[in-house]
């Protein structure tokens, strides 16, 4: 493990960029499936940060947390895509602009 400090900053750059890309996709894309994918990107950015910190400080707790995050992500995708399927059944599209029934 001969990583220098600068690699830590690089790693943080990767984490920030992935999180930002996920957030951007979540906010700007209209396709519900791509929005779900963006959420996955954000979760993965956090996973990377957790693993990096956990390996850097030699505390395995962070990795356990990642295991839980992965499980929750799996369940989130399963239910999320189920909802998307039902939306498609209703309107024949998954573009989020079409679902404005709850808008005031």
């Amino acid at each position: 493990m001969s990583f220098s400090i600068s690699i830590t900053y690089w790693s943080h750059f990767v984490v920030i960029s992935m999180f930002a890309l996920g957030l951007l996709g979540f906010l700007l894309r209209k396709n519900a499936i791509v929005v779900l994918m963006s959420i996955e990107l954000m979760l993965n950015a956090v996973n990377l940060l957790l693993i990096e910190t956990s390996m850097r400080t030699n505390t395995p707790d962070g990795i356990i947390l990642v295991v839980f995050v992965i499980t929750v992500a799996a369940a989130e995708v399963a239910v999320g895509l189920g909802i998307v399927l039902n939306l498609y059944r209703l309107k024949g599209t998954v573009k989020l602009d079409h679902f404005r029934n709850l808008q005031g």
Binding site: I70, T71, A74, A75, V77, A78, L81, L85
Partner: protein
């Protein structure tokens, strides 16, 4: 992590082989495209409708159940790794896993009761 270096070499070799196959077929085979030859294959008749098929929920359910069971099965592995060593400390790990597995079996029983996996 050093153990994965040969995997990288293997990856490069595999890419070379795939690229080689790709070029060989491009170089050796003749090319004589005719519209009828390039049309979609549907047992010799002109395609009736587009390749869009109605969504069958069965496939989705299989994929979802696979996802959830894959996650659960992935947790068996760390348990299996340390089980033998932990035997000296009593049956705590065995009981913990039996509870975990009981919940999993409950899920399986629920699937069988609902009988949603019947395709066709």
């Amino acid at each position: 992590m050093e153990a994965f270096l040969p995997v990288g070499i293997l990856f490069i070799l595999a890419i070379i082989i795939s690229a080689g196959l790709f070029t060989v077929k491009r170089l050796l085979g003749p090319r004589n495209p005719v519209p009828a030859k390039l049309a979609v294959y549907e047992c010799g008749v002109t395609p009736e409708s587009s390749a869009r098929i109605p969504f069958q929920t069965g496939f989705y359910l299989i994929a979802v159940l696979f996802l959830l069971f894959d996650v659960e099965a992935a947790f068996f592995f760390p348990w299996a790794l340390v089980y033998k060593e932990s035997l000296a400390e009593g049956p705590a790990l065995l009981i913990a896993m039996l509870i975990y597995m009981a919940l999993l079996v409950l899920g399986l029983v629920y699937i069988f009761r609902k009988d949603c996996l019947k395709l066709n």
